[in-house]
Each structure stands twice: as C-alpha cells, then as structure tokens.
C-alpha cells in the first residue's frame, strides 16, 4: 500500500493543496461573518491553520518510503537490543548457526550427488541401458557385450550408445615408481554419447577400436593422471607410455570434470573384442550409456528397447530368453545405492532444524514476556499490533543474518573437514561443494526461520500486553512439547541405527580377519604371456612371500572377500538340470589357512593340482547343502557351461564366506586352483604372526625381488577391508547420533528455561504453600511434575511419530525391527533422565523459596 502512495505522492500533494485552500476559504468566510475585515480574516485563518507548508511536507514525507525507513529503524533498534543482551544474542546466533550449518552440510551433499545435473552436455537426455535377468536372480544388472552390438544395430531411439568395461588394470611402468592405474575400456562412441570434447588432443576413433593392433596401443588420460604423474606436461600428446609392458600412445587428455564411470578412473582405452569372443553371449559385465534422440522420452525408449529385447529373445533363445532391457536416467543409476541414506539424513537434519527453530522461538517468547511493560507503553502511544509484529521481525533480522552467515561458514568448514572422510566409493564425491543452489537454500532457510521465530512473540503481543509476564504460557508449552517430540524422533532413529550397526559389525564374515594383510596386484599379460607363465609367476610370488619371517600362510584369490569386486556366474553339477549361481574363485592351497576359513571335508589344493593334471575344485558348505543335501559332495563333478571347459571333481568342502557385504549374502562360492584356472588380477592374503601392517614393507620387498616392476595396490590389513565395508553405515549412525545429541541439548536447555520461568511465576504461590505448612520436598515434586508433564507429552508424541517414521528406515536396518522395544525404551529413558536433570535446578530453587520474601515480593 505504501508503495502506491509513493508513486502518487505528487498527485496527493496537489489534492492536499486544494484541501487546505478549501479549509482556509471556509475559515475566512467565518471570520468575515464574525465581522473581521478581509485582511484580518486571512491572517487569523492562516494562524489557526498553522504552518501549511509544514503540513504538506509532513504528508509528502509520509507518503515516501517511510515503511522502509521504519524498517531500517527497527533493524537498528534490534541491533541495539542484541548488543545490550550479548548472552541472548550469542545463544540465539549459535543455535541458528548450528541448525543452518548442519542442514546446509547435508543438503550440499544431497544436492551435489542426487540433484545436480551431471557435468555433460544436456545431461537429462543421458540414460543407462542394462539387462535384467530375472531368472538368475538379478533384478538389474550390467549390460551384455553381445547384446550391446545388437542393440546398436536395432535401436531407433538413441542418438548414440556406448559400452564400457568398468575395470581394467594398467600397470604403468617405465617412468618413476611402477603404479597400477584403474582404467576403463570403452567403445569410441562413449565420448560422442557424453559429448565431452577432450581438453588436449583427441579421443580414439571407432576404427581404432575395431583394430586389434591399434586398440592395444592408444590411450586417453584423465586430467588428474596427467597432473599427478606427468606434471601437466603439454608435450604428453603423442608420447608413448608403458601400460602392462606395452607402449601406448597418448592421444589426448580429458577435462577435469570428466569422471566416467567414477572418479578413480584415470585411463580410457578402446574396447576391442576378438572375432568370436561374443558368441557365448554370456558376458554381462559392462556399463551401457546412451543419449535419447530429441523428441523421444524415457517411456518411449523403454518400450522400444523392450521390443528389441523381445527380438533378441527369439533370435537367441538359449541366452536371451529371460533377458529384459531397462532404460533409466543415468543419474538415477549412478546414485541409486546412496539415495536412501541421503534422504534419511536430509529428513533427520530437517527435524533438527525444526527443533532449533522451536527452541529459538521459545527463547524469544521468554524475552518478549519480560518486555510486556515496554509493549504496553508503545501500544498506548499508538503502535498497532501489526507495527509491533513488524518490529519483532525486524529485531530478528540481525539475528538471522548473523546466524546464517556463521552457519554457512560452519557448513563450509564441515565440508572441508568431513568430505575427505566419506567412503571413496560415494558416487560423485568429487563434485560435492557449496554450489549456488545450496547457498540459496541456506539463505531461504534462514529467512524462513527468522519469520517463524519472530511470529511466536508477534502473535502473542496482545496477550503480552493484557496479561503481562504471565502471558504466552500456552504457546511456550506447545513449543517445548513439539521440540521434545522432535528430539525423541532423532533419539529413536539414532538408536535404531546404532543397534543395526552393532548387529552388522558382529556378523560373522566366514573368515578370521585379524592378523591378515591383504594386497592387490595385476599381472601384465604381455610380460608373462599365457596362463602357464602367469601361474608360474604367481607361484614364485607365493613362495617368496612365504619365506618372509613371521608369515604363517599365504593365499591368493582373484576376488578379495568384501573387496567390492564381483566375479560370479553359473556352474552346473553333473546330473543336475539347473545351474547354480555362484562366486567363481581361483585360489592356491594356502588360501583357506591364510584367511582362517575352516576346511570341513576333503582337502585343499596342492601343488600337484597344476595345469595338465586332473581338474579339481572345492565348494563351500552352503553350495554342498543346497545341491546335495546330506549326501557327500566329494567326488561329484561340476563345470562352467562354456565350450571347452572341463568337468571338475570336488575334492574339498569349506566354510561359506560373505563376499558381497556383511549385510548381503546372495551366492555360495566355488574354487578352482589358480594353476588350472588362471586369472591375472589377484589379491594376496598373508597371515602374519604380529600386526599385519608392519609386514607390508617386507612383503613388498619380497615381491619386488621376483619382479621389481610389479605395482601393488590397496595394501591394507583385512580388518581395514572390513572397516571399509562398514564405513557408510558408520557415517550414517554417527551423523544421526550427532543430530540427536544436539537436539537433546537444545531440548534440555529449552525445558530448563520453561520450568525456570514457570517457577518464577509461581513464587508467590509457593511462598504461601510453604507458609501454610507444605514441605520443600513437596514443592520440588510439584515443579518436577510440571516439567515432566511437558516432557511426557513430548515423549508420547515423539514415540508415536518415530514408530511411523522408522518404517521408512526399512532397508537400512539389519536384524533390527523398526519397532525395536529396547531402542524405544532406551530413548525414552535417556530423555527422561536428561529432562529430570534439567528441571532439577529450578525445582530445588523452588523448594528453597523463602516464604517471607516471596509473599512480600513483587505481588
């Protein structure tokens, strides 16, 4: 309204001039009628009016933006108020800052990972294409190589489509310290699908991808690798680097934001398939990404690809009968695993934020109650309720600004400090930061909080004036009860997660991780040639490491348990119809002893189980039970259903291992001797007499003795590997715990304030009670009951809300029910204990009221 007045100032002034003239005319008429002459009449009239110009000026001024002026005055006044009450100001700013910091921190992570566009051109049009093999027990899985080429021929909904093998070990040698690099072999179309031009040079072409010679002699580097290993040398292009012993020409360097499939990939090389490699159609270990054509949406693409899948099922019934195709947004596929946890954290921090706001609102109400005197005076001087409400908001603005600024600063530090501690496997972890939208949300939250907090005293103004310091009791009760409810929800959630984590931690992985050192190595095929050469090399390594003093057993395996890598597939038992899905492992004889896996029947592998000798295998007890029940599995035979692979006789049964994770256990394991089924990517596990970490150097040297250019990677104690699997749930639990603690602290302080205030209110009443014979203890109980009544209400509300909300935790709870009684009881007990101690001090004070003082007092 005042804006309109501002724009019509001129017109209003003219109107006023006419009005004043009209007034003067009337007055002059009257004066003349009373008998004055015209001059006297004019002068008297003018005198009676007063200073006309002053009136005009005043009204002109008023139509100015004095709304803004008074707002400015209010803010300045508010600043003054804060300055005069530094403890209140500091408390208020701190609470708001903590709430904003926590929320901004979590939202920054959630936004960067889940919401922010991928750093590619038109990222919304990028999709992941994969296969779901329902029968084999995989809901969604990677794409099949053979399928990809058929998709490429038959599809009509994608501009471009690309295939990537998300694992390729490259040993970089010849320049400085040998290092193993994580690379990805991809089709040339990857770069055109993602539409990312390289920073330097070029990427490989399809021609190079289809040529076996060229495909194994070119490479594209990541920005990070170029910086780290090659000092950002601009002459890198065209240079040849030794990867796995073979010279590769560096064609180009990618930009820093190109991190496909993930941050740890530093090399891209052409994905070449020898002519008959895809005939089996059973290789499903690839990632497929595609770009939707303009005008095609996700549903259309999905429907189209399902038709294509149908065609393939008819063409290749043996392999593709039950293979269905799914098309999903690339971002979703990348971040699906982490989504649940992030939503949980967002929800929890939202509850914490609410608790903080409620606490602050309560604080302001308390302060307002003590200022009722001031408000009565202001109201009697003409201030309207709106005016007073505006004043509250204006006073809260300096608080909100300071709180927001400090909060964002805290959030920045939190990000700097804590993001490096996050699991490295977190998708898009490199992109986490305080982006624009995150800051905008932080500011928005501060504004919202300021308004909410100011509303509390603003709506109570009338009550304030009429009832003075005894006002707003209801409102404060409501606030504290809601705050306690929020706290309870956080306590229960944190408790459930803690319980779940403890259960997870104590899950038996199937082996003994203590005193075991693990490390990974990739064998350069170009150096050691065929399987025979690789096996011999591995045997030498095992022998050499075995001789290190203090080493009790050495094992090698192609996939480390809980190491995050999978190699799985079907094996078929002789005489059985159906294959069984299993983890495929190549090991040496000492593997089980090294890891501490029990041998339950038969024997482990021996040196004599080498290439050319009868094929043997070992199965785990779970597989034995599933396939043979109580019958003896020893002597039975199994094989991988692939042309040329032999039947293998079972010579031993061992304990079952958890390979995928402590919370999942999808498959049993089968083992072949490494000499009979040789792999070039192996992990070594070394059982040591003492602390495994201290053996790292000795083991490294032993390996170096055999081949000084063999890079090792991921050298850590087996306990470290376990910890790594537990990192994500541990972080969730810690964060929730932190939130719950913070909320508990706030709630206890809030409740202390409320009870303290109520006690002061009833001083006189207590005085009377004491005077007529009540005991101090009686008063203590009375006050405690007041506090506990509110706490109990909050507790009840909170428990109910928790029961409803904990359902959403679902998949994140291991062996813990969302309604776990012990956790709820524990949370309730903790809350009541804290509440009790918060109320104790004012209660004691009440019991020691001096009746004479109280009665004589303020009255």
């Amino acid at each position: 309204m005042s804006w309109m007045r501002f724009f019509s100032r001129q017109r209003r002034d003219e109107d006023l001039v006419r009005e004043i003239e009209s007034y003067l005319a009337h007055e002059i008429d009257e004066n003349v009628a009373r008998g004055m002459n015209l001059d006297d009449a004019c002068r008297t009239a003018a005198r009676k009016l007063g200073n006309a110009t002053a009136v005009r000026e005043e009204l002109y001024e008023r139509n100015s933006l004095n709304f803004l002026e008074s707002l400015y005055q209010d803010i300045v006044h508010g600043l003054g108020q804060l300055a005069r009450n530094p403890s209140f100001a500091c408390t208020g700013i701190l609470i708001l800052a903590l709430a904003i910091a926590a929320t901004t921190f979590i939202f920054s992570i959630a936004y960067s990972v889940l919401l922010r566009d991928l750093p590619y051109d038109e990222p919304a049009r990028l999709v992941s294409v994969g296969t779901s093999l329902r029968e084999a027990g995989f809901q969604r899985t990677y794409a099949g190589a053979a399928d990809y080429f058929d998709w490429r021929k038959q599809q009509q909904v994608f501009d471009d489509i690309a295939l990537t093998r998300p694992v390729a070990n490259y040993n970089l040698t010849g320049t400085g310290e040998p290092e193993r690099l994580q690379g990805a072999r991809t089709t040339a179309s990857l770069f055109s699908t993602l539409r990312t031009p390289p920073l330097l040079g070029r990427v490989f072409t399809e021609e190079e991808q289809l040529d076996p010679g060229k495909a194994s002699s070119v490479a594209v580097l990541s920005y990070g690798l170029w910086q780290r290993r090659f000092g950002a040398d601009a002459t890198i292009l065209g240079r040849k680097i030794l990867l796995n012993g073979t010279p590769h020409e560096v064609l180009g360097v990618m930009r820093p934001e190109f991190q496909y499939p993930a941050r740890e990939f530093e090399l891209w090389t052409p994905l070449y398939f020898p002519p008959r490699a895809l005939e089996g159609r059973s290789d499903y270990s690839y990632l497929c990404v595609a770009r939707l054509k303009a005008g095609v949406n996700l549903e259309q693409a999905q429907a189209h690809m399902m038709v294509v899948a149908g065609n393939l099922a008819r063409q290749y019934p043996r392999t593709n009968k039950n293979a269905n195709v799914f098309v999903a947004p690339m971002l979703n596929e990348m971040t699906g695993s982490i989504r649940g946890a992030l939503w949980l954290l967002l929800g929890a921090v939202g509850v914490l934020f609410l608790a903080g706001c409620l606490n602050l609102a309560n604080l302001l109400l308390a302060r307002a109650a003590t200022r009722s005197h001031e408000f009565s005076i202001r109201t009697s001087l003409g201030a309207t309720r709106t005016r007073l409400a505006r004043q509250f908001i204006a006073e809260t603005i300096p608080l909100a600004v300071a709180g927001a600024a400090v909060g964002i600063l805290f959030a920045h530090w939190l990000l700097r400090l804590l993001v490096p501690l996050l699991p490295a496997s977190l998708p898009r972890i490199g992109e986490i930061g305080l982006h624009g939208p995150v800051l905008a949300v932080a500011v928005l939250l501060s504004v919202g909080a300021a308004i909410f907090i100011a509303m509390a005293p603003a709506t109570q103004v009338r009550a304030n004036i009429e009832r003075g310091p005894a006002s707003s009791g209801r409102a404060r009760d409501l606030l504290i009860v809601t705050e306690i409810a929020c706290t309870v929800v956080l306590l229960v959630t944190a408790g459930l997660l803690m319980r779940s984590f403890a259960q997870l931690r104590s899950t038996d992985p199937g082996f003994q991780p203590r005193h075991v050192l693990s490390l990974h190595l990739a064998v350069s095929r170009s150096k050691y040639g065929e399987d025979l050469g690789v096996a011999r090399y591995l045997g030498q390594l095992i022998g050499r490491v075995q001789n290190v003093p203090g080493v009790e057993a050495v094992g090698i395996v192609n996939r480390l348990p809980l190491g995050g890598q999978v190699q799985a597939g079907e094996v078929r038992f002789e005489g059985r119809e159906n294959g069984v899905n299993t983890d495929w492992r190549s090991i040496n004889g000492g593997y089980f002893q090294a890891l501490g896996v029990p041998l339950l029947a038969g024997r482990t592998f021996r040196e004599t189980d080498s290439s050319g000798r009868p094929s043997v295998g070992i199965i785990d007890e779970r597989l034995a039970r599933e396939v043979f029940g109580r019958a003896d599995p020893l002597g039975k035979r199994f094989r991988i259903d692939f042309p040329g692979l032999p039947w293998v006789e079972v010579v031993g049964v061992v304990g079952h291992l958890r390979h995928e994770g402590l919370d999942r256990d999808p498959r049993p394991q089968v083992y072949w001797p490494y000499q009979q089924r040789t792999q070039d990517r192996m992990a070594m596990v070394v059982r040591t007499a003492g602390d495994p970490g201290s053996f790292a150097t000795a083991v490294r040297s032993a390996i170096r003795e055999v081949d000084p250019e063999q890079p090792l990677y991921e050298v850590l104690p087996m306990t470290g590997v376990l910890e790594r699997t537990l990192l994500a749930p541990r972080i969730n639990t810690l964060l929730l715990g932190a939130f719950a603690t913070l909320a508990l602290l706030l709630a206890s302080v809030g409740l202390y304030g409320v009870v303290s205030y109520l006690t002061t209110q009833r001083r006189r009443e207590f005085g009377i009670r004491l005077a007529i014979g009540a005991s101090g203890v009686g008063l203590l109980t009375l006050v405690l009951k007041q506090g506990l009544a509110r706490a109990a209400a909050g507790l009840a509300l909170g428990l109910a809300l928790s029961a409803a909300a904990s359902r959403a935790l679902g998949a994140m709870l291991h062996s813990t029910s969302p309604l776990d009684a012990a956790t709820y009881a524990g949370a309730a007990a903790l809350l009541l204990a804290v509440v009790l101690s918060a109320c104790l001090f004012p209660a004691c004070r009440a019991s020691r009221t001096d009746p004479v003082e109280a009665l004589r007092g303020d009255g």
Binding site: M1, R5, E19, S22, Y23, H26, D29, L49, G50, A52
Partner: protein
Amino acid sequence: MLVLRALVLAPAHGHTIAHLIERSSEDVLQVEHGSLYPALHRLEDQGLVASFWGTSENNRKAKYYRVTPAGRRHLIEERSRWEGLVQAVTRVLGPAME
C-alpha cells in the same frame, strides 16, 4: 479517536471537524488545525475513514470524510481499551490519594 467520534454522526470536511473537536472538548484541546490533516490522512490510509470531494454549505468545494464500518469497529475497540486504561490508572493512583 476523537476524529472518528466527530465523524460518527455525519460526514464532515476538515474545517468542520476541527471546530467540532474544539467545541466538544470545551476548548481544552486547542491544536493547530493544520495538524489535523496528517491525522485524517493516516486514518484514511488505515481504511478507517473514506474521503470524497463535495460542495459545502457556503457553496465551496470541500473534501469530506466519512467513517467506514472498519472505522466504527475500531472506535468501539479503542474506546473500551481507553476506558480500561483509565480505570487501571485510577486504581493505581486511587489509594495514594487517600
């Protein structure tokens, strides 16, 4: 409030209002009539009175003001608050006078 009271009976223009206030307070409240206009405009901005141009008794153009329903309600509220305040003050001062 006094302005509203003056207008309750009938719309009037500035000049008349000024005289009404003087007369009804038995000339105790003698203010510069000019200070009336800011008050009138404030009341108008708050929606408690509305203005219109008309012709006065002596055939001159004058800006008239009338009370709005909101204005009437406000008068009743304010009046009771004022009376409450007066009572409170009297109570406080009362015993001291004795």
